[in-house]
Subunit: 413 residues, 2 copies
Amino acid sequence: PQSFDFNHHSHRRFNPLTHSWVLCSPHRTQRPWQGNLTKRPSYDPDCYLCPTNTRANGAHLQNPDYNHTFVFENDFPAVQQNQPVLVLAGDSQDTNPLLQVESVRGQCHVICFSPQHDKTLADMTESEIVPVIDAWISTYKAMEKQDHINHVQIFENKGAIMGCSNPHPHGQVWSTEDIPQETAVELENMAKYRQRYKRCMLCDYVKTETDADRKAKADGSALLSSMENGVNKACSSSLHSVPLAGSDPTPPTTPTSNTFPSTAMKSRVTPDGSRIVCENASFICLVPFWATWPFETMVLSRAHLARLSDMTEFQKQDLANILRRITCRYDNLFRCSFPYSMGVHQSPTNENASHQELSHLHLHFYPPLLRSATVKKFLVGFELLGQSQRDLTPEQAAKRLTDCSEIHYKSGV
Amino acid sequence: PQSFDFNHHSHRRFNPLTHSWVLCSPHRTQRPWQGNLTKRPSYDPDCYLCPTNTRANGAHLQNPDYNHTFVFENDFPAVQQNQPVLVLAGDSQDTNPLLQVESVRGQCHVICFSPQHDKTLADMTESEIVPVIDAWISTYKAMEKQDHINHVQIFENKGAIMGCSNPHPHGQVWSTEDIPQETAVELENMAKYRQRYKRCMLCDYVKTETDADRKAKADGSALLSSMENGVNKACSSSLHSVPLAGSDPTPPTTPTSNTFPSTAMKSRVTPDGSRIVCENASFICLVPFWATWPFETMVLSRAHLARLSDMTEFQKQDLANILRRITCRYDNLFRCSFPYSMGVHQSPTNENASHQELSHLHLHFYPPLLRSATVKKFLVGFELLGQSQRDLTPEQAAKRLTDCSEIHYKSGV
Ligand SMILES: O=P(O)(O)O[C@H]1O[C@H](CO)[C@@H](O)[C@H](O)[C@H]1O
Ligand SMILES: O=P(O)(O)O[C@H]1O[C@H](CO)[C@@H](O)[C@H](O)[C@H]1O
């Protein structure tokens, strides 16, 4: 049998300095780049993803004449199903802890969101977005059945600035043998939180943010009515210095162990203002308290759902609703097709019961723009070597997004 | 006294999902952007950093007519010295663990590397680079004396693609009250390693890589002499399948505790080939086994030095030598002024004795280019949501860099 070859087979390597893994896909040959197709007709005869066109892999595969979504295996996958097994050490005696490597098998899919080349989630209707969610769910379920798959990462890169290699509306799904770094770390921290507080971190976070939002609105109307009553500015602004989470906290139950990381210097005061951008019965969309990207948002399920496939029909409609509304607000912010990387965090597909229990369905949006359609935030020097850094506060970013309309600037309404 | 204002004062916030901090600098007003100055005369009257020119802060400060380096306080600092103290909770009872925030005071400096607008480290001589290292050391020492400073991050963003806002050769120094995320994590992992193996992780790593390099060279010359002896290809290639670190490891001493993270599936085999790009008596420069960026490198001191200021004169010359050689190789790789973020990791300036003991001087280079002067690697979708990903192997990247000349392509030699 063929033996494992580090120059051809996917594997991941361990960084002992940062305690994190990096996936290495040496077989991934020159992928085609169509990110600079700038004309956006509704059908582009040169696009590899439009219905009926021929794909990029040289095998003369033709796309079907699809109506809603279209799922196929990536022609240039970062992980592959059929690769030899990596021979592992039986004992740890003769291995170097600084040279740790693991084989990573997997499968990569592409999901076209719409047959129309010129659409994006931001200008699709909610009933057009539902089939996208259905495609995410069916791909996850198909991968769940595969023995060698333990995790399914659904994501979208939108815009050439975010490395998207083709403007046709599409996302990707990378299903892997390993639990990728980010998910593994989130699960670890959620486990420590649950151990200490006996509750789900993200259930608590939803409550924290809805409380802060209520408080901000109450302060806002108190401010408004006090101004209506002719109370002067100096007085009303003191309303704003009332500590938010300090006076109205989600009181943690008495710590039972100190495994959940906390710092010596916790603040009694937290910034004023709401971080919620939009919400409905099933989901809230907010700029997290700890956002890194200028207009980063997170979509959280109000209910403790482990995965997309646990949603009811009603919740699925609500997710489509939130996705349309946040992507529309993004486009309206700088009146451009707003670039981002977006993805779903949900339960791994492995059989680890604690993973199922811990997972709380959420999506992250990481958009790079800072000040305009062309000025982005660079996460470079200090950020790479020291610490992530942002300029405007998350509350300021939430306010900007809250002020945007949910009617698309191009819709001509 | 003025009270702490989240809309104006630097602070950091804790991300409980990823267990990491983000620095927030809301006061950082519109910094000027000169990243797109493309003409590169040796003196540019419009440049804020050239000798004798007026700076960008509106205070009509004039640069001196400097000859080597020039250090000044950043006109648009991300952290500031004079800001009010953030009132902290005495007990942890009424604080929300999901809304953790800390005040961050600090100071930001800019270091011009040369009076000549059109130079970079890659085309400076070693004796021109020594004053840059001296400026790093004197800035570190000045900050070391400040009570409110615990860490000094020296870095350079090179190229507009890396967010560098001015092409004049310069770097930055951000000195902060906190130990930034990356350094804190490195120190934590180095502490666990030391506890388990009773040795310094990076001293061990230097030995691991020099051993692997020796082995690769021996294999290479064995291969060469066997070919000279007419032995056929099939036979010689089996030489290459001899496991490197498996057969010639740095044997870890018997584990005394399991605090150093290790995985169940360690590999007995590791990739063939050297990862060392260039070296001298005091430093080695290599593509780390776990590199994320395509042509990422790390410069490690052979001796266990805690900080730049611990170097002898000889070691300082050697660091200048390595910096010139690696930046020159970078420029030669795609025959362009090679962009990167680069920075120094050394001991924090706080009085923590264990930090001093653990720290092992090293520099990281994070360059974004992948295939040419214009095709970069995007660390987006899967990378942000799942795990870092790379295409070519670190050994292949090292080989490409090793094949580059150390004479600059523009030097006309
Ligand atoms: O300080 P500069 O050069 O204006 O800014 C650059 O470096 C900083 C530190 O890495 C980054 O925060 C900025 O995004 C980048 O544009
Ligand atoms: O697969 P694509 O769209 O060709 O490639 C894009 O997404 C991938 C997954 O985030 C990244 O690794 C690539 O750098 C990016 O260009």
